[in-house]
């Protein structure tokens, strides 16, 4: 049953209009990366790519995760079509897991294409022989899973969660890693940055450093980041499945 829920959700998420919009986003990543590489000519190719990866690719992952996570449940509740799903003999956790998995796969697809677009724009064909490629892809995958878990949980607990999710993806995740003290610990991006091989160290208070979250000292080890990201994924996904099985998600009528 999980497979059927997963495949139908995947088909819904990959409808042509949506696909075109996300391919346009990938195209924009390519253009932005190319411009970035030209403007940061004093940096090495690897440094340039590291910055683009953290400033653009990981943000696209957060954006895609926020949008697709909203489609897992929030959109069904708002359109009232949730009623057809929750009155079928399918355990709610199966329903939620299949849909979350589909959202994660699509978000990862967007992130993966963005990674290649950015890499090709900055490093050219040399990107494909980059030693960090596999780790970059793994970071993307874990990042997507963590973001999907978090954004789906938001959509389970608050209505109209897309706005809050986008604020988190672009507000919280931009400013919290730059904050002094220990605030950077409460950002998913911090751990993604730390787990990624392209470490971006503080270079100065430029806009690029703010966007990449490079103003704060990077004090989380790669190993610890992987552990925390793994715990986040397992914890958030388990929480989402439990929450959806436990609480009501019935469209409410105006008259009641």
């Amino acid at each position: 049953m999980t497979r059927f829920v997963f495949s139908t959700t995947l088909r819904d998420l990959l409808r042509p209009q949506r696909l075109i919009a996300w391919l346009a986003v990938v195209g924009m990543v390519f253009v932005i990366s190319k411009v970035w590489a030209v403007l940061a000519a004093d940096l090495t190719g690897a440094d340039s790519f590291g910055r683009v990866y953290q400033a653009v690719v990981l943000r696209v992952v957060a954006l895609a995760s926020a949008v697709f996570a909203t489609m897992v449940l929030s959109q069904e509740v708002e359109q009232q079509t949730i009623v057809y799903l929750i009155t079928r003999p399918v355990p709610r956790r199966t329903l939620m897991f299949g849909r979350m998995l589909a959202a994660a796969v699509v978000s990862f697809g967007v992130g993966f294409l963005s990674l290649f677009a950015a890499g090709f724009a900055v490093l050219g064909l040399g990107f494909f022989s980059s030693p960090s490629l596999i780790v970059d892809v793994l970071v993307l995958a874990v990042g997507v899973m963590a973001y999907i878990g978090f954004f789906v949980f938001l959509s389970l607990t608050i209505s109209r969660s897309l706005i809050i999710s986008l604020l988190f993806a672009f507000g919280w995740e931009t400013f919290v890693p730059n904050m002094p003290g220990d605030m950077f610990y409460v950002s998913i991006l911090t751990y993604l940055r730390s787990a990624a091989p392209e470490a971006v160290m503080a270079a100065g208070p430029s806009l690029g450093d703010v966007i990449t979250g490079a103003l704060a000292p990077k004090s989380v080890s790669a190993g610890l980041s992987w552990v925390i990201l793994s715990l986040l994924v397992v914890g958030l996904w388990t929480l989402c499945l439990w929450w959806f099985s436990r609480f009501e998600y019935s469209p409410r009528e105006e008259g009641e």
Partner: protein
């Protein structure tokens, strides 16, 4: 099949249903009430979308909330007019069938059968967004019956259907009831429901007003006498004789001097006595009707009480 025991449901400060206790068995049962009376809340409680704030709901002896064992045996046709609009009617029903656990071929077979039952076979490949209200209602019914449930809950199913569609819809429901299924139909249009069943549950402002057979409920309403209109060419003579009967409360001659309206508290005795009296006195009766012996009147009386 369905047992509600002292069920109340609050939405924050607003009460949806208040202390409802009743049982629903096989056959067609009408859930009646005005808009906002709590019909949809009751439906959602029975279909396990909501939990009662107090009391308990049991379907086949099980708590229905998020319970797949219950969903295997109930079909639900919601009152909402929302669909995954990008799908065709056929694809939508097929998906619902697959979600019931059927493999591809069985799901296809069942969805075709359900679509055929609701008379949508020739239009099922069109996109749902292009469907009329009546077509959408039919497809909603198809997805509810696709797994041949023992209990079918239909929330305002006749909304938007044309007269022919209503007739067909009622025939489908009657067929399901004849197979021993339990069909629960909510509506605020009383005359439609009256054609389907005599078993009622009346709710008003979240409270259970009455439940049981329509005739029994009507008989219990002793505050409002039954009105019976008789068409006759001798209304005054008939009125004089009828007023001698102890259970006749009043008789009013019609303005056209060709009819008589009688009020009685015991309609059964009245109907027993009337043929004998008219035969003895040689009074011809050309028409007989009871204007308030319908659901609308019953509902009105109960609400006014």
């Amino acid at each position: 099949m369905i047992v509600l025991d002292s069920v109340s449901r609050w939405y924050g400060q607003v009460i949806g249903v208040n202390d409802i206790t009743c049982e629903i068995g096989p056959g067609v049962t009408a859930l009646l009430g005005q808009n906002g009376a709590g019909k949809s809340t009751l439906m959602r409680l029975v279909t396990g979308q909501l939990r009662p704030t107090t009391g308990s709901v049991k379907v086949f002896g099980l708590d229905p909330f998020a319970n797949p064992e219950v969903y295997k045996r109930i079909g639900y046709c919601p009152d909402i007019d929302s669909f995954p609009e990008h799908l065709s009617g056929r694809e939508f029903v097929y998906r619902m069938s697959r979600l019931c656990g059927y493999q591809e071929s069985e799901a296809k077979k069942r969805s075709e059968e359900a679509i055929d039952v609701v008379g949508m076979s020739d239009r099922a490949d069109k996109s749902l967004k292009g469907y009329s209200k009546g077509m959408r209602q039919r497809i909603k019914l198809a997805q509810a019956i696709v797994h041949d449930p023992d209990i079918l809950l239909l929330d305002e199913p006749l909304n938007g259907l044309d007269p022919v569609g209503r007739r067909q819809f009622m025939d489908v429901l009657a067929g399901l009831a004849a197979k021993g299924k339990s069909v629960i139909v909510s509506s605020h249009v009383l005359f439609e429901v009256e054609k389907m069943t005599r078993s009622l549950i009346l709710v008003h402002r979240g409270r259970l007003l009455a439940s049981g057979d329509f005739g029994t409920i009507r008989a219990l309403i002793d505050r409002h006498p039954h009105r019976i209109r008789i068409e006759t060419d001798s209304p005054r003579l008939l009125a004089a004789h009828l007023m001698c009967l102890p259970f006749v409360l009043s008789a009013q001659i019609g303005l056209n001097e060709a009819s008589l309206e009688v009020q009685t508290r015991e309609p059964d005795k009245f109907y027993d006595e009337l043929p004998r009296l008219t035969l003895d006195e040689g009074i011809a009766i050309t028409g007989l009707e009871s204007p308030d012996n319908n659901l609308e009147s019953v509902f009105q009386y109960l609400v006014e009480r």
